[in-house]
């Protein structure tokens, strides 16, 4: 059973010989500083460097997938924001939001045809990474997080209360754009789509807003991608106790949780595959012994796909990540 058969089989609901260990990319990427040392160009913006980094993550760290990109800014790039490119120590980030009104943004940018230069690179990288052995994951930033990367989060949060209709319309407009982007990824050869929506946590939005503004978007997104016969993984940051029942209503092939979530509890509540949730702080600062024991604990708690719990700090040592992947692979023999 190769890595692609194992992960895709598991997401389809088949029995597998063991849990896969992956790091999907996007917000949850393993392009850590130590790994990037020998790469001259910027892996966030240069196509060759992007492909090389994706392959190197698998070869050096042992994660069982290729995943691009390594940031959360590709999606918002074409919407009139100012980005920093990021480097070997710091991920790309939004430096300046678009200060226009939501209506103006929706009028000005046609979300159906829009792809930024970074997104175009991501599509091409997927085309080049496509293969029969290793699953390729296309990563998309979720609708709430993309919307709050384009406009100031505080502005949009307030609008959720004050102007719910226009806010909903804007998030829906972003969601449509993300769906068309994800479809292009699938056509390019992505085996799986992973969405991370770290701003849409139950802790930030509360259950009411989550159900009103995030859930409908995920449902439409999932349907569109599943219709292309492609599985989807959703990552939700933070504690999920107030939204876990909602999440269970999603037709999604795996849900990834943060380290604060007790996976035994999640297992009892969630019908789909669980992914996670090795603590990223531990992966950065902890001893390899402790990392191995926490990784084992995740597997014993019923995690189906082992992965970091959230976005990795860029100073995370390769050796620590390797301890985690080795541990999962070693479990073939018990």
């Amino acid at each position: 059973m190769n890595e692609k058969q194992r992960l895709l089989g598991l997401l389809k609901g088949d029995k597998t010989d063991r849990s896969p260990v992956i790091c999907p990319g996007g917000m949850m990427n393993a392009a850590v500083t130590e790994l990037l040392e020998d790469i001259d160009s910027n892996h966030n913006t240069d196509l060759d460097a992007m492909v090389y980094t994706a392959i190197k993550i698998r070869e050096v760290i042992g994660f069982e997938n290729y995943g691009v990109p390594f940031c959360m800014t590709c999606e918002s790039e074409p919407f009139g924001v100012v980005l920093s490119d990021g480097d070997k120590k710091c991920e790309p980030r939004i430096v300046e939001y678009n200060s226009s009104s939501l209506e103006e943004i929706m009028e000005k940018f046609d979300s159906n045809v829009l792809l930024g230069t970074r997104s175009q690179n991501v599509i091409q990288a997927i085309e080049r990474l496509k293969n029969d052995e290793v699953p390729v994951i296309g990563n998309v930033t979720g609708p709430i997080s993309t919307a709050t990367s384009i406009v100031d989060p505080l502005k949009l949060f307030k609008m959720l209360r004050k102007e719910p209709d226009i806010s909903y319309k804007f998030i829906e407009y972003i969601n449509d754009y993300l769906i068309s982007y994800a479809k292009k990824m699938v056509i390019a050869g992505a085996d799986i789509i992973a969405i991370s929506d770290p701003t849409a946590t139950g802790e930030i939005l509360g259950k009411k807003n989550f159900d009103k503004f995030a859930m409908p978007m995920y449902k439409v997104f999932l349907k569109a991608i599943n219709n292309m016969n492609t599985p989807v993984i959703i990552h939700i940051c933070g504690d999920v106790k107030n939204i876990i029942e909602s999440l269970n209503l999603l037709d999604v092939q795996a849900i990834s949780f943060d380290s604060i979530v007790n996976m035994r509890y999640a297992k009892s509540k969630i019908k789909t595959n669980l992914m996670g949730n090795v603590n990223t702080l531990l992966l950065q600062n902890g001893s390899t012994d402790k990392i191995v024991s926490i990784t084992r604990n995740a597997m014993d708690s019923g995690v189906d796909i082992v992965s970091p719990a959230c976005g990795l700090g860029m100073s995370t040592p390769i050796g620590n990540l390797r301890a985690m992947t080795d541990c999962v692979k070693g479990s073939i023999n018990g």
Partner: protein, 231 residues
């Protein structure tokens, strides 16, 4: 007579006979319910009734925001609600502040706040800022991605009581220790209380780097500031 009084009171809801406490309560509720126009109307009414502006601020607006803080802690309200309430609060403050007549003799508590250099996640910091300001504390916001020496320099310049630092990223946590070390090197550590917070921060980390306090949330941060100033 009873009936007449009853009737009189009712037709004068919000009128000149309405007692202050009732008005304060209405203002407080209007903040909690995010009713901008009502807050505007009631605050103007308080001025017409010659109620001292600082009293209306404290017993009406800030009392309301305090309730918002409790609802946030109880997970009834979340970030969108708290932010919207704080806008409503500010509408009231804008009306009343110019009418504060007597300079308060107590010097206000002063806080310097910011997100550590290298990190741009500032939602949590902004929430602490809003809640702290709502409690009548003077907040000097340095923003996000703040060079470490700016925390010390600003605190010295304005004579702050507190230095509050936030970060969501593990990579920038140690910047908090650097700030504390800078204070020590300059022999001014005891001039300030240092409070820290943010995703990866814990009480244990606060103890390790020698911070005075850690708070897991915005409401708790304000409570701790008040508590430390009282002691």
């Amino acid at each position: 007579m009873e009936m007449i009084n009853y009737y009189y009171k009712n037709i004068n809801q919000g009128g000149s006979n309405m007692n202050e406490d009732k008005l304060f309560q209405q203002i407080s509720e209007a903040v909690v319910e995010m009713e901008d126009e009502l807050v505007e109307e009631l605050c103007n009414k308080s001025l017409e009734l010659s109620i001292p502006a600082d009293k209306t601020i404290n017993k009406g607006l800030i009392a309301g925001m305090d309730k918002v803080g409790r609802l946030y802690e109880e997970e009834e309200y979340f970030l969108p609600e708290v932010l919207t309430c704080s806008d409503t609060l500010n509408i009231g403050l804008d009306i009343l502040k110019p009418h504060i007549e007597t300079e308060s003799t107590d010097s206000p508590i002063k806080v310097v706040i910011g997100v550590i250099e290298g990190d741009t996640h500032d939602i949590g910091k902004n929430l602490v800022k809003i809640m702290t300001e709502s409690a009548g504390i003077e907040v000097h916001d340095l923003g996000r991605d703040v060079p470490l020496k700016n925390f010390v320099n600003t605190a010295e310049e304005i004579g702050a009581n507190f230095i509050c630092m936030s970060t969501l990223m593990t990579t920038t946590m140690m910047g908090m220790k650097t700030v504390i070390d800078m204070l020590k090197e300059n022999n001014i550590r005891n001039k300030y209380k240092v409070m820290i917070g943010g995703g990866p921060i814990s009480q244990r980390f606060a103890d390790e780097i020698g911070a005075d306090a850690y708070s897991a949330d915005a409401y708790g941060a304000v409570e701790k500031i008040k508590l430390m100033m009282a002691s």
